[in-house]
């Protein structure tokens, strides 16, 4: 394998050809925040948190490190002022629109974000597309994808119909940065993850039906009284019958 030499934050490093800047930085212990990149899934570059500066200081270009391959002689700065300011602003936008995600809150705190100057929204999904790629590339289902553009962009099944290729594996939820901390897996049957109570059950609004099949149920679909829905498959059968 051909080796490539580059500089990251002044440090000369060597990586294999084809390595992304993000991977190279991680390999040498430089932590770059990211929400839409995951090992085993293809590069996408949607969250814009992993941006880095490339090139000589006065003509530096800003690119997402997860989608940029290392090149011979490349000069990379992962934590320049411009980059940090831009990341902080993106995080401010994220916290304003997705206030309930612990992952995003932790990142924002780590970047010294102390105020949010935008009106608060309750959007939950940041459209990072991890679930879409998980479903397509690892689960080979392609049950969900992006629809619409601009403000109408969303992730859903074709024509918003219940998917007949979805195997309810829960992979989409497992990778989701906005809800993974709400769905940490086997808690005692009676416990609720407190964060979920802030969320409206969006899937039921869209499908008239829960789409959340990873046991135990994530909780966004739980009625305020603490009244659990029955097991997933059962719900579906019930609905189909009626």
């Amino acid at each position: 394998m051909k080796r490539i030499s580059l500089t990251i934050n002044g440090l000369p490093v060597q990586v294999d050809k084809g390595t992304t800047v993000l991977e190279a930085a991680r390999l040498y212990g430089v932590e770059i925040p990211t929400l839409c990149s995951m090992e085993g899934l293809s590069d996408y570059g949607a969250c814009r948190l992993c941006i880095v500066e490339i090139g000589p200081i006065h003509r530096a270009k800003i690119v997402s490190s997860c989608t940029t391959r290392c090149e011979e002689g490349m000069v990379v700065r992962t934590h320049s002022r411009r980059v940090l300011d831009a990341r902080k602003m993106v995080l401010e936008l994220m916290v304003a629109s997705t206030p309930g995600s612990k992952t995003i809150q932790d990142l924002a705190a780590a970047h010294g974000l102390t105020q949010v100057r935008f009106r608060r929204e309750a959007e939950d999904c940041i459209l990072c597309g991890l679930c879409v790629r998980m479903c397509e590339e690892q689960m080979m289902a392609s049950a969900i994808g992006f629809v619409g553009r601009g403000p109408d962009r969303a992730i859903t099944t074709p024509f918003d119909e219940l998917s007949d290729v979805c195997r309810h594996c829960g992979g989409c939820m497992w990778v989701c940065p906005a809800c993974m901390l709400r769905c940490m897996g086997p808690n005692a049957e009676t416990t609720l993850c407190s964060g979920c109570l802030n969320f409206s059950p969006s899937c039921v609004e869209v499908y008239d039906h829960t789409q959340c099949w990873m046991p135990p149920l994530c909780g966004t679909c739980v009625r305020p009284e603490g009244d659990y829905l029955p097991a997933a498959g059962h719900v579906m059968n019930e609905k189909t019958k009626s």
Binding site: A46, A86, V90, M94, I126, R149
Partner: protein, 627 residues
């Protein structure tokens, strides 16, 4: 001659051209009627039909030719009729003028005084097309043939030397020679980014991967811009020829024309051109008997603005969602189906045959130091002569707007010009002498873009303009990058606040910071310029933002939440015209007495302002009268 059979060699092509030229009589009068989209909208089809009928009735079919041509560019004055070879020019022709024009101008060769164009600046009547100020100051290369050609007729194109550049290229030049020509000419991409075309082709040619593809980007979506449309509608063979030459240079055998579905006439004409060219042997297998094969396919875009971005365009071509991806790798290295792909704008392709025909030195002799050749702009908005103008690069903004555009209508003052479409920026009056080239525009905080010039007068509110364009960008963002999708939305929200009088000075700083982040952090050319409307208006018109915030005043009297309408006592004669038309019954008063507007009922539609014959209705904002 027949163009039904393939032309098998260069010799045959010259023979065909010879026959066509011999057959035509240069002194035979031709009535050319612009049938571009603009003139068709003002009734050119019916005018053309009446000319044809009249010529038939008068049995002049042998002596006079009636020709529907592509866009002449002076769309404001349509339908345009030019009589050739004399060059007499008639704007706004009606069916009633047809017989008069045929009898007096076509047959007797004299101008008809009352139908001639009157220059609004000098109030002089002007006889000939080339003397009209709108045309006189232009330097037309790509648009030059539009007024002479029937775009649906291959014979017409061959007669003026069509496909000569292709024949010359295939016979005498090597692919590297073509690339050298294009590089030396200094031609830069006309789609917006201004990358050196020759350099891009060279990169693509050096790629080992096969097959290679070429694409014509006709996904023109800027509001108010229609140069590409007019080229495709008016001279489609020029684009086909340019693409053929490009394909030979980089070694491609398949090309695509990616054109918007919203351009039905352009689709129709380019489809016809491709079919005709294929039949006559300029496309397909073994072109002109040289062994070179290349074919074109039309792909229609579904209307997403962002699909004009090259990586999004490729995604759309491949049948995926039109979403950009990070470059590098550039399409020239890895594009359509991961193969080297050259994407150029319609105007770029249309320039290529001219460069081959006239040589790179000729092309490089026009323009400024780093931006060569000519550029087509669509001049629209608050300007007297709207239409398409082609000028050498480096001409000043002032010359384009005042010499060619004829200045601002109704004696109002010039305020700003938006260049480069929605993601461009606004230039203030102080920068009127800025030369139009890629570098100068970028340093002034805007972009060349594909060539839109939207002129604004003093009655335009710059905050409102920034809001309009930001809203457009918000809706057209593909939504992939968080910074672009949320950034444009949040910028629009802040602009809404400011326009509605809720803005704060802190928000103004936030707006600036956000605009910079959007430009910095986004992936594609769309997002990287999405902050421009906000940043450029903040840079040049900050006091207007501050007036909205600090004084709750809209200096241009546009933002409805910050203005009131008032009736001046001294001028109102109580005609009650305003009261009659007011949709919300907000105006009261007795006949022949002063009328009064009830602010609580007023919806600020401005009807009273428009209808008042005495100019008694005024716009008041923040305590004083406004423009």
């Amino acid at each position: 001659v027949s163009l039904e059979n393939r032309i098998g060699s260069l010799k045959e092509l010259e023979e065909v051209r010879g026959v066509l030229v011999d057959r035509s009589d240069p002194d035979r009068p031709v009535i050319t009627i612009c049938t571009g989209t603009g003139c068709v909208a003002s009734g050119a089809e019916t005018v053309a039909e009446s000319f044809r009928k009249a010529v038939e009735e008068l049995q002049l079919g042998e002596k006079v030719e009636v020709k529907g041509t592509g866009c002449h560019g002076f769309c404001e004055m349509g339908p345009l009729v030019t009589i050739r070879p004399s060059g007499y020019f008639y704007p706004k022709v009606k069916t009633g003028d047809v017989h008069k024009i045929i009898e007096r101008t076509v047959l007797n060769g004299e101008p008809i005084e009352e139908l001639l164009y009157t220059d609004p600046m000098s109030e002089q009547r002007i006889e000939k097309e080339e003397e009209v100020p709108f045309y006189k100051h232009q330097h037309r290369i790509v648009l030059a043939e539009n007024g002479f050609l029937d775009p649906t007729d291959l014979e017409d194109y061959l007669q003026i030397g069509g496909y000569k550049a292709l024949a010359y290229t295939l016979e005498w030049m090597s692919p590297d020679g073509v690339i050298g020509f294009i590089t030396d000419s200094g031609l830069r991409g006309r789609g917006g980014a201004g990358f050196l075309t020759g350099q891009k082709w060279a990169v693509c040619r050096s790629q080992p991967k096969e097959p290679k593809y070429i694409v014509c980007n006709a996904d023109e979506g800027d509001p108010g811009a229609y140069m590409d449309r007019s080229i495709l509608e008016g001279n489609p063979h020029r684009v086909v020829e340019g693409m053929c030459i490009g394909a030979f240079a980089i070694g491609a055998s398949q090309g695509f024309v990616y054109v918007r579905h919203e351009y039905p006439l352009a689709v129709k004409r380019i489809t016809k051109a491709i079919e005709d060219a294929r039949r006559a042997g300029f496309l397909g297998e073994n072109i002109l008997g040289t062994g070179f094969s290349f074919d074109l396919k039309i792909v229609r875009g579904a209307g997403a603005f962002v699909c004009g971005e090259e990586t999004a365009l490729i995604a759309s071509l491949e049948g995926r969602k039109g979403e950009p991806r990070q470059r590098p790798p550039f399409p020239a290295e890895s594009g359509y189906r991961n193969r080297p792909t050259i994407i150029n704008n319609v105007e770029t392709w249309a320039n290529v045959p001219h460069i081959i025909n006239n040589g790179p030195e000729w092309y490089a002799s026009m323009g400024s130091e780093k931006s060569k050749g000519s550029k087509i702009f669509s001049l629209v908005g608050k300007v007297n002569n709207t239409g398409l103008v082609e000028v050498p690069m480096g001409m000043s903004v002032r010359q384009v707007i005042f010499d060619i555009g004829g200045g601002i209508p109704k004696g109002k003052a010039f305020k700003a010009v938006q260049t480069g479409g929605p993601a461009g920026g606004c230039l203030p009056a102080g920068l009127l002498d800025l030369p139009i080239d890629f570098e100068a525009l970028t340093s002034a905080g805007t972009i060349m873009g594909s060539g839109g010039l939207i002129v604004m007068d003093e009655s335009t509110c710059m905050v409102d303009i920034a809001r309009y364009f930001t809203k457009f960008l918000e809706e057209e963002s593909c939504g992939k990058c968080y910074s672009c999708r949320k950034g444009t939305q949040r910028m629009r929200e802040i602009l809404d606040d400011i326009c509605e009088g809720r803005g704060t000075m802190e928000q103004l700083d936030l707006l600036e910071e956000l605009g910079q982040t959007v430009n910095l952090a986004s992936m594609c050319g769309f997002g990287q310029n999405a902050g421009n409307p906000v940043l450029s208006t903040l840079r040049y018109f900050r006091e207007e933002y501050e007036a909205h915030i600090k004084e709750h005043r809209c200096p241009a009297g546009v933002c409805s939440a910050l203005i009131r309408y008032e009736i001046t006592e001294a001028l109102c004669d109580g005609c009650a015209a305003c009261a009659k038309l007011c949709p919300s019954d907000a105006i009261s008063g007795e006949k022949n007495h002063l009328h009064i507007i009830n602010d609580e009922l007023c919806v600020k539609c401005g009807t009273c302002l428009d209808v008042c014959a005495k100019d008694a209705v005024i716009v008041v904002s923040g305590g004083g009268e406004e423009a």
